[in-house]
């Protein structure tokens, strides 16, 4: 666990980048620091591995004050990934990944073997090992950056906007990859981003910071979307909070009805479409085991009759869910109304038409 206790950073020119920050970063989970540009995210992150020293307060790593640890030693036990990857241009990919093992004095053979394992782990073709960084795409370089950070198997990983410089499609796949890795590795990850969607997607816990390095709210993503602490957080979360929150509710509990006769399937039981007077109409599917309520609702909206088709992994129809079934679950997960009326009503006005959480009751 990493703790910030009343941490303040004042730069020489007087800028207070982080102001009296106290928070806990739980072990084995992803904690995201999110906030507008200049709010002190990078500063906070770099105080953990002492690339920047706090002006006052203290930061502990598993109970030990980081200032008691020799910085290079501390850093070799903490993986670090940055936006521009920062690979060493003069070293081959395999040696880039093996950097920290080399620093720790591993033999060249052992370090390289480990590096090859990591390339595979982050989904890179081992054939790239002998290339130089300039011969890789931005997305590939970023994966190498992640592999390099993981090379010596550090328990803690610090990531500073690691995916911001790549296009949205590559970014999404890197994010999925990180979640997959994390489900295996269970590292303590501090992830910095200014993209709230990324924060909500990746974070087990999200710490929203405001300019001046003050913590605005720290909560799980679903809670954050439902119960933003104040107008700043609400505005930062942006539109469609109500819909986006559905991503955190599993579709498992959606009540399924038997497949009606107008749903046409092939001989394997896969849906082909809805039978209508003009032929087959499009249908939307969701997998109750793996998908969220948001996907189920989306599937319902894609069908002309408002009915979503539930399928299993192989795509075979398991049943259908009408809007009534989805509504039942929506009602069950409606945000708490009591006692939050003032916040709720001002939220309705500030975040516009997408926000309807005050309405159902």
């Amino acid at each position: 666990m990493i703790t910030f206790e009343d941490v303040t950073k004042r730069y020489r020119d007087g800028t207070v980048a982080v102001d009296d920050l106290s928070l806990e970063v739980p072990t084995g989970a992803i904690t995201v620091f999110v906030g507008p540009s200049g709010c002190g995210k990078t500063t906070s992150l770099r105080m953990i591995n002492r690339m920047i020293d706090a002006t006052s307060g203290r930061i502990t790593l598993d109970g030990q004050d980081v200032r008691e640890i020799d910085p290079p030693t501390l850093r070799r036990g903490i993986g670090y990934v940055i936006q521009q990857a920062g690979l060493f241009p003069h070293r081959k990919i395999v040696d880039n990944v093996a950097t920290v093992p080399y620093l720790l004095g591993w033999s060249k053979k052992k370090a390289r073997t480990r590096a090859m394992e990591l390339l595979e782990l982050v989904g890179l073709d081992p054939g790239l090992a002998g290339r130089y960084p300039f011969q890789l795409s931005g997305g590939q370089q970023q994966r190498v950056g992640v592999a390099r950070a993981l090379a010596a198997d550090p328990p803690v990983l610090l990531m500073d906007e690691p995916f911001s410089a790549v296009d949205p499609i590559v970014r999404a796949s890197l994010q999925d990859e990180l979640l997959r890795l994390q489900s295996e590795l269970r590292k303590t990850i501090v992830f910095v981003t200014h993209d709230i969607d990324e924060a909500v997607k990746l974070g087990d816990t999200v710490a929203v910071m405001r300019v001046g390095g003050r913590l605005a709210q720290m909560a799980g993503p679903a809670t954050l979307l439902t119960e933003p602490a104040d107008d700043f957080v609400r505005e930062f979360l942006g539109r469609d909070r109500g819909i986006r929150r559905l991503s955190f509710i599993s579709a498992k509990e959606v009540r399924l009805s038997p497949s009606p006769s107008d749903l046409v399937t092939d001989e394997d039981g896969r849906a082909l479409g809805w039978r209508t007077a003009d032929g087959l109409a499009a249908h939307g599917t969701f997998n109750p085991e793996t998908d969220s309520l948001r996907v189920a609702l989306d599937a319902a909206l894609l069908s002309p009759n408002g009915t979503a088709v539930a399928v299993d992994e192989e795509g075979r129809v398991r049943g259908v869910a009408g809007r009534d079934a989805i509504d039942e679950l929506l009602a069950e997960y409606a945000p708490p109304a009591a006692g939050r009326a003032p916040g709720g009503s001002s939220g309705g006005s500030s975040s516009g038409a997408g926000d309807s959480e005050g309405a159902p009751a």
């Binding site: 850093r75 620093l103 130089y132 390099r148």
Partner: protein
């Protein structure tokens, strides 16, 4: 009276290796030594001085200014200053040329280190490099292309500047010019020019080759 040919091959043949100090081969050898020693000394001094200038920023401005003033002095002036100290020896040529080399190489080292991208330096810090190792294993290797570019300029200009030393009898191939002018005899002049150009081209080519071998990772190479 027959027209004097531009090049008299028989003169070249007779004077290529006549065993004396004025043999063309001896002058060539002298030229090579006097051209390369300043570059070598320059590099040895420029590395620590350049590093110091990066470490202590305030040092760079005065150092660069001093070097630029030196560079702007006509080489002849510098030679005559050292003439009074070191006499008619090679040192009178080599020492000023070392200053010229420094004027090119110190900025090359400073610019080279400045060319190390910030994310590269920062990730080295973040991974736990200590300063000395970071300098040797990351920053200097990454600075090599820029330093080598400076080295090429320093080497080629050193090769051409040595000739001026002919005025004090220590000009390597430059001595051939004086010889030719004094006698209104073109052959030595042509031989001198051709050999100096060849030497410069050869040295530059070797440095380019060294650059390709040393920095196969350099992106600039692909576009070059």
């Amino acid at each position: 009276m027959t027209e004097e040919p531009l090049v008299r091959w028989d003169w070249i043949a007779r004077n290529w290796a006549n065993g004396g100090p004025t043999a063309i081969s001896a002058l060539l050898e002298n030229h090579v030594v006097m051209a390369f020693l300043p570059v070598l000394f320059g590099l040895v001094v420029a590395l620590p001085l350049g590093l110091a200038c990066v470490r202590w920023r305030w040092l760079y401005q005065p150092t660069a200014a001093l070097m630029n003033v030196t560079y702007s002095l006509p080489s002849l002036v510098l030679f005559s200053i050292f003439l009074s100290v070191t006499g008619l020896t090679r040192s009178t040529v080599v020492i000023p040329l070392t200053f010229f080399a420094l004027a090119v190489l110190i900025p090359a080292v400073v610019d080279g280190l400045a060319s190390v991208p910030d994310p590269v330096r920062q990730s080295a810090v973040a991974m736990g490099f200590r300063p000395a190792r970071r300098l040797l294993r990351v920053e200097l290797p990454v600075a090599v292309p820029v330093v080598l570019a400076g080295l090429r300029v320093a080497t080629v200009s050193s090769i051409s500047l040595v000739s001026v030393g002919a005025l004090i009898g220590q000009g390597g191939l430059g001595n051939l010019f004086i010889d030719g002018w004094q006698r209104q005899f073109y052959t030595p002049i042509v031989v001198g020019i051709v050999l100096i150009v060849l030497l410069a081209v050869l040295a530059d080519g070797l440095l380019v080759l060294a650059q390709r071998l040393l920095t196969p990772w350099s992106r600039a190479r692909r576009t070059a």
